[in-house]
Symmetry: C3
Subunit: 504 residues, 3 copies
């Protein structure tokens, strides 16, 4: 292998290189390995290198970071390995870490490099966050979708390729690229090494791994080191900033669609309005994040993740990367809203009917697999403590009563639609489980799906976050009620037609 | 009642407290009463207290505010009560004002406090704005929806809970919390004191009012002092800034849905683009607001509310909180667009058919209740004066001719859909007024509603504000034309089926 | 003609006027002619004048601009006319240029002024950009829509006014104002002088041209000097900034609707998130635009238009106003996605069936009129060079493979829907070309249109820009699959009904 930029490497190693120059400012010293990376990649990929240079990783060593007061500390181990403590967190510190554990490690200019940096790598300094995140539904988003036959059949029915021959439609399952381009873009792909491939580069011919499922930054990505998730889903590489993760745009990457319109709801809420109007002057980088001083309305992170303090340095809410700690309910209905699942692995759930669903088709919760009322109360209180930093107790109680009433009424609207669907299956107007058929592949079944996946969800998110438009006309109650009437009309039409046929 | 923080109150009263410290900066002196509030609430609710500290209310006394030149003045009375003139507008100045007039007043740490601050409270300093706002449709938004039987039936049909039994759907009217969570979130709730409730607090057991309809900041809220509206709908507490009210995000809280997509239309208009691209450098806090200097494209407030001046200090448009002063038309069709109503109370309107609607079902305006052509011309001119600050007369005339043509064509598209609906009622394909049935509760009726409430409205907003996407494919003309064809198809299908049944 | 502000003109001409004052700052000297304009219009239209004063046009003369290093230069001629070289680009320099070539030129206060400044005017200094833009689909957007009978019939069917009489709907073609308010708002109108009209002004009675099709800033506007397009579509008057054109809000004016949701897709992509979260600190005005330094994620302009350099001053991608230089595919399906057309004038295209469409109804490309695989590869490489500034080769290849797979699968989903439509036409369930009927005017045909115009397009844009929501539930694959099933259901229903009728 020729090394076209070899001539610059000795310069770098001699200490007259890029790293030394950087260290002169307020940047941290770079490791020799990272300096080697930069010798080529600063020119090859100027965008990410410049982005990283602006990051805390480039400016503060883990050793310095450990010296901060506990409340201000951004790393959660008590000690970092000696070889990492006093250099910036550069290219090599992550991409060359524990090469033996990463199946995508390859030989590259005398280094063993892996492409996909994983939560296990990040845990070197951020162990608590990685552990908490592992207890999250999000870290299990790949398997929860892929390995649940009910949900999987929804995926296939929605994203498979259809054809029309002899007056009938048929569907073939989605290929891997389609999956990666649709549902698993957010849920995460399974990254696997397919082959090594030679490529002519500025440094001559080099070998690189070809990765299946790549690129992907989904929240439940299966990584080549066996870990689940991707910290860069929210802490976008290569800045890895707390600022981006705290801004709602990050959440909007996956939480804006009609199934889970959290971001849209937020934007029309009073909170979202304050953020949009006044957020330009807030400090999104402060740790702890001081309510009133650093920000005057919550973003997604405020209520669900961040360490919040008041002006006296007292903790209002602790940092958690297990986002369900403040969530008594799972308002994303499958098919009804229900108490939050106990385990982040929802494939273990079985309802009384034996289906891997957290409720019966009637709405009754599969209680064994869901948190109980006491745990719900604990989580409700945890969330309310955030509210109380700005709102009175009466305000907060009123809001929660209204929200939980909406959970109840939207579940009823799901129930009415489901009863119509069950009648259709029973009377032969559609084919369901009894006929060994998917319950998501007919037009009427997709109409039913929209009732709970789009309209009931939207209405509940709107209620939870006070963005009422999405609970009224924008995919909210208007559609909940219209959809039921259209489903009932369809069923009567269909049964009428079957009646006529029978007579003939 | 124990008072756990009583020990701090004497300190505050002795003048060594928070208020004195604040006054040392550029903040105004605080009243003793407000200092007492802050002694506890700065710790209990740090978010809102910090927010308020950044407000003009905390930094300028009404007495100082009165000294400003008329064009720069933000308060509209000639004199404020003596006890309020020389202290900051703090907690007590609003929440303890005229306790005898507020039904939600309660005894709280030796004070008589009310939770819900109302336009009448704000009128102490901002009398003109409150008066103008009272002449607005918005201040009447509660009653106009609740007390108009036609609109009320639309609400019930859209937000009531439905069930499906014996192959038929039925609907029960929405409960109070659902109303507050949906339509009345924006229209406003009726706030009433339900009870007093004891609660254990940091200061021991205390009694607080439990309020029905709370929380709410809807524009037509019925307050416990009998007033209508909520200034904090737009001037969000506790910053109460003119900046937020001038930014379009505030309007988007209620004006983004498919029924009234003003904000969405704005964002794709040239004006919205300029705001989004360049607004970061504008001065949203200047009074008067100087076109060209402080901003280079209008936001919602520019055209509808704000006091606009040119660089020579001449008034381009006067401030008004009666937003219809520059609105010749009401383009929010009910069911047709029509000249603006004379009275903000639209429940008094009766068309020739005796319905409380501003037009006949044919489109003919209920002229007695609507402004005449002369008043329309006056308002059109008032609006055009704003346009002319940046556009030539030919540009403005062209735009208005195009807009008024769109009012006409969208009304025709509403008329075609309505004729189909009337045929359906007459021929028994649907049940309407003649059958004593709601005209909004069947699937086909909801399809008709979308014609005027979503698609015609969207198209007109798009035309008025030049955000053409919403008049083309995004809920615009595409859907207007598709919907008519689907309604006509449905009617032919239905009548064909009835024909078949009859024969049998 | 009286001239009310005549008294101020001599002052201006005497050099004590506004222009001289401006030149004292960092503004360029103004021509006498522009000073004359400003003498009145600074007062009459303060907004645009103040906006222009902030522009580079007001602050740098073409002569100075020519002296910049080539990479930093913003004008693309080697020489500007002598009379323009040393004065600011003011009102007169554009509106009074080559009066004999503009049919909208009129006599105005002793000047010959034209209202509509055109690309030909701009080419005085920006000749290369105007030439490139002329090779763009966008510059031909008027004719490509108006003069293609298939597309034109889609316009008429979507925006014409419908009526309902005797149980049948009928449609009349859209009037000129409706066209200008809908499709041609973005595509551009044909601007023509209708008449001269007298108007009382502050300067007495004056004559002004009345323009048909005005106002409009569509990308393919037909101008009174025979040119096509409007530079102010993106470089909004009168600031004409590169900053606005580089921000995605500008593109969103026309690229946000369901037919072409590029902006929406961008906002939920990682790139869009980085822009929204961190873009407040970027330099949108730098030329060249340095990746990593000036910005850390692409906006629309980065990938499609801008001159991008790395930190060493090396060009990553050249500036081009022929946006298709980096576009191997046209993913906006008509009705299928296909290799990009060779000519920006798409009215010359004929498929084998003789229709002016770039593919057959089966999906086969009309290859003679489209670029070949070699040209596609060249354009693919040009685009990938931009990607590589931040991403590795494996990442980029993976993304393109996935994207081109999505082109294929979405074309198949369009094909299935088209086969259903063809069956409907053949079996008499709908009326198509064989019956000399529009293929867009029936409800089922509009459903078919949505398959390719909304859902397939959305899915492809989502794939291209990695904003997966729009390829999943938000107008993406969910709707692609649901729509096919609904179309097939409809066809079976319809044919069943026809069967019954036949028997009777």
């Amino acid at each position: 292998m020729r090394c076209l930029c070899a001539s610059s490497i000795p310069l770098v190693l001699a200490g007259i290189g890029l790293g030394a120059a950087l260290a002169a400012g307020d940047d941290a010293a770079l490791s020799d390995d990272t300096e080697s990376c930069l010798a080529c990649h600063a020119t090859l990929n100027p965008g990410i290198v410049a982005d990283w240079r602006k990051s805390l990783h480039a400016r503060v060593t883990p050793g310095e970071a450990l010296k901060k007061d506990e409340l201000e500390r951004r790393i959660s181990v008590v000690k970092v390995p000696d070889n990492l403590a006093n250099v910036a967190v550069g290219c090599a510190e992550c991409h060359n870490l524990s090469p033996e554990k990463h199946r995508d490690t390859f030989d590259h200019a005398d280094y063993k490099v892996h492409v996909v940096v994983t939560p296990k790598d990040c845990a070197t300094c951020h162990a608590v966050e990685v552990k908490e995140y592992g207890q999250n539904l999000m870290s299990h988003a790949y398997g929860n979708l892929k390995n649940n036959p009910v949900y999987h059949s929804l995926v296939d029915s929605a994203t498979g390729v259809q054809s029309f021959e002899n007056m009938r439609t048929s569907v073939s399952p989605p290929d891997a690229e389609t999956n990666a381009d649709a549902c698993f873009h957010c849920h995460g792909t399974a990254i696997e090494v397919e082959a090594l491939k030679s490529r002519e580069t500025a440094l001559g011919e080099m070998e690189f791994p070809v990765l299946r499922g790549w690129p992907n930054q989904g929240v439940g990505r299966l990584n080549p080191d066996g870990s689940m998730g991707s910290c860069t889903s929210c802490h976008t590489r290569h800045r890895f900033s707390i600022e981006m993760a705290r801004k709602p745009y990050t959440c909007s990457q996956c939480h804006k669609g009609p199934d889970v319109p959290a971001y849209k709801v937020y934007t029309v809420s009073k909170h979202g309005n304050i953020f949009s109007s006044m957020g330009g002057n807030w400090d999104f980088d402060a740790v702890p994040w001081v309510v009133g001083d650093d920000f005057t309305a919550p973003t997604c992170a405020t209520c669900h993740v961040s360490l919040i303090a008041n002006g006296d340095g007292e903790v209002v809410a602790g940092r958690t990367h297990r986002m369900n700690e403040r969530l008594p309910w799972r308002i994303f209905g499958l098919i009804y809203a229900h108490p939050h699942p106990k385990s982040p692995d929802t494939t273990i759930i079985r309802n009384k009917a034996g289906l891997p669903l957290p409720t019966e088709l009637t709405g009754e919760p599969a209680a064994d697999f869901l948190i109980d009322a006491k745990e719900q109360e604990k989580r409700r209180t945890a969330m309310q403590n955030v509210c109380l930093a700005c709102h009175g107790q009466g305000w907060v109680e009123g809001q929660f009563a209204r929200f939980e009433n909406t959970i109840e009424t939207t579940n009823k609207m799901t129930q009415a639609a489901t009863k119509i669907m069950i009648a259709a299956w029973e009377k032969g107007a559609a084919k369901g489980l009894a006929q060994n058929d998917s319950i998501f592949n007919e037009a009427i079944e997709k109409k039913w799906v929209e009732q709970w996946l789009f309209f009931a969800n939207s209405t509940r998110f709107a209620s939870a976050m006070m963005g009422a438009d999405y609970g009224a006309f924008a995919n909210g109650r208007w559609y909940l009620s219209k959809n039921i009437q259209e489903m009932a009309d369809w069923l009567r039409f269909k049964l009428g037609g079957m009646e006529v046929q029978k007579k003939e």
